[in-house]
Symmetry: none
Subunit: 432 residues, 2 copies
């Protein structure tokens, strides 16, 4: 895996693309042997790709496919492999259309480079950006796959185009693996690990575990490798009565998951995107509940998280960001006496916010969040990181007070996550 870009080489941007790509390749069944980061220079790109091709059958190169003169990857790799590049008329038309759509005029000369593709074909279309991915073949059938460096574009092309291509080309030689990610929230990594390890047999049934912590929670990734290649395409069962290796691995995975269930209860959720808001959205839609959000310290983040989910208009009516205290009285109808007596950051005010927004917007469920995100505003009793939140349900209102470590960004993110987590737990309890 080769990442190209002066900003990556010099460390001004962290190479998250490389890590993501290595993870995907390893999941598809490739053994990743090395990663390189090089600058925007023909010779450096050529040397890295040449070195990588010596010991591997597949090299992924990311970055350097854009329209500016410092985008060198396309020409450098084509040159190294002796591939001829030609302009693709259809692609040129698409690029012109994009430029017009954004209200700009003719396609600049530099942008035309993005339509240069290998003469022998090998385009991986880019539906979310300009430059497509390219497949170039080197000596001994070794493959170079070139992808744009903009993360969203790279990831979409990989998911939609590159992975199916790789699976079909390396068919029969990929040692599969099945993965399962359990998303957890509200439990520190070391405690999670202690509980998990305490539940599992010493050999862990041949399932390997990785703990992947971030601000919002710890993902627990379970991996079971198959002994031989697994079926790549659903529906293709084992032909000759042999057990499908994927099924066997999946069985081991499920056994471990079942063992872990009791220790993770109330701290885990299911979501395709990995987003807790998605899990919350699903329950709200299923139960036909409408929701309104009143936020202070999170300043719109809870509403933003919920409306990230496509189809959120089915349950999310609106939100009120009551940043100034005056707005808390004026729009949410909170008596200034409560704020004075209990403090703006208090469970009483959080409850009044949750109930106030449900009333103001006419929703069944309300969320209220008020806290001190910092860097200013902390006191000895209520230091920076103190956050109160409340969930108003038709059955009653539940409040919590928490303290979160970290800087302003951390505190805001943890607060939004905790509010969504509390809502999910309450809904699951109600529903069971």
């Amino acid at each position: 895996v080769v990442s190209v870009g002066d900003e990556l080489l010099l460390g001004e941007t962290v190479d998250t693309n490389g890590a993501w790509m290595a993870r995907v390749l390893s999941e598809v069944g490739f053994a990743v042997v090395g990663r390189w980061v090089v600058g925007d220079e023909d010779q450096a790109i050529r040397e890295a790709v040449e070195g990588a091709l010596e010991s591997t059958e597949l090299v992924l190169v990311m970055g350097g496919l854009g329209p500016t003169p410092d985008d060198r990857t396309r020409e450098a790799v084509a040159d190294l492999l002796g591939v001829t590049l030609v302009p693709d008329p259809g692609l040129l038309e698409v690029l012109r259309g994009r430029m017009r759509g954004r209200g700009f005029g003719a396609l600049p000369e530099g942008a035309r480079a993005m339509a240069r593709v290998p003469r022998e074909g090998g385009i991986l279309p880019n539906v979310v950006g300009a430059a497509p991915g390219l497949v170039m073949e080197g000596p001994h059938g070794r493959i170079c796959l070139l992808l744009p460096g903009v993360p969203r574009e790279m990831r979409t092309i990989v998911r939609e185009e590159a992975v199916p291509y790789l699976r079909s080309r390396w068919r029969g030689r990929l040692r599969g693996a099945v993965h399962r990610t359990i998303h957890t929230f509200g439990i520190p990594e070391s405690i999670l690990q202690e509980r998990v390890e305490g539940r599992l047999p010493p050999d862990r049934s041949g399932v390997s575990l990785a703990y992947l912590p971030d601000t919002l929670g710890v993902r627990l990734r379970l991996t079971a490798r198959t002994e031989v290649e697994s079926k790549d395409f659903p529906g293709e069962g084992p032909a000759d009565g042999l057990e499908d290796p994927k099924e066997e691995a999946l069985g081991r995975l499920r056994a471990v998951e079942a063992l872990l269930e009791p220790v993770l209860a109330g701290h885990s959720y299911e979501a395709e995107t990995g987003d807790l808001a998605e899990a919350v959205a699903e329950v709200l839609l299923q139960r036909r509940l409408t929701l309104g959000v009143a936020e202070s310290c999170t300043g719109g983040l809870v509403a933003k998280r919920l409306t990230d989910v496509p189809g959120s208009s089915g349950f999310f009516m609106g939100g009120i960001v009551a940043y100034a205290n005056e707005i808390k009285s004026r729009v949410l109808g909170i008596h200034s006496r409560i704020m004075e007596e209990r403090g703006v950051v208090s469970e009483a005010v959080a409850a009044a916010m949750a109930e106030g927004v449900a009333r103001a917007l006419g929703t069944r469920v309300g969320i209220g969040v008020t806290g001190i995100a910092g860097p200013e505003g902390g006191t000895p009793e209520k230091p920076v990181g103190t956050v109160c939140f409340a969930i108003a349900l038709p059955e009653g209102t539940t409040t919590r007070r928490e303290w979160f470590p970290g800087d302003r960004k951390d505190v805001r993110e943890r607060s939004a996550q905790a509010a969504l987590g509390l809502l999910l737990r309450l809904l699951e309890r109600e529903g069971s």
Copy 2:
């Protein structure tokens, strides 16, 4: 720069150490030519270090110095360079003391490996952890510097020990560099490049340019290298009437920036964090203007962006996320007739939202955003990506209708950025 670790190679952990190290080396005055990530294997480590030594004078290796059997770096590099490792009695004593201090008994066998050092010396003490950094000399005076992978330990050793060592060893041969990043918005990379290149002399006054695009805009990075070594220590001015080389480079940088100003006007901003919201916040605070935000398709993102900025309570009063149309009437007081006649996604409704929120929250400035983020809801006249926004100022209301490419997330991010960009332009125009 070589980073060692299976978790890095497979992408389970992002290699932030590598980026940090490259930045430090480049600031000290080294030209970083490549970065490698390899797994915990002797051969992979040896190959990467050997390859790196071929084209450089200095190789930094991070990770794999710990006490467990998968820590291979120390032995692998010593073996490659023919360096003999011997136990350091003083260091062994320190390790024993640490173990006792944490309430554990005798030093485990594995931990004794951390006291093995080159016979010829070359220890960089680790005051915050166990394994010290090591200096090993290869052929032709080429240097390998080995550092632990724990970020805090690595960074402390680099700051306290490694940088002074490198500065003294390469004294007189380090070329400094000065950087400047110009943040732009609302202008595609290829158009920006055309305008920029059109303004600059062919030699660009010795300033190199990099275009760094993401969804929110393109960062333009200017770099000017000094011809000779810059002053390493503050306070050491040019002794003999010579110009400080850093000042000279800075002069070239400023000249290029001045040339670019007219072509970037209305599309660029200043912000320490790189965030357009920070630039907007600064102008609002300076002009003592209060702000309220009414959002539909961005669902709280504009409010979230603004409240990301520490001190935003100085201008940001609140926001209303009017996701359902009923809320647009109920809370913002928009007549349902306007929504029916002009459509919910229209400049008229955006204007009514901006004015409505300013009225409802009693602020001087209002922002209104309404659009179709997708994936559902597009029509032939108003396809997914159509967004209308409005800025209400005391002087009057300005509206825009735009179309943004990309998926739901892209459209939302671009919309928020465009609304903030329009506000900044209007405020700058008012202010001038």
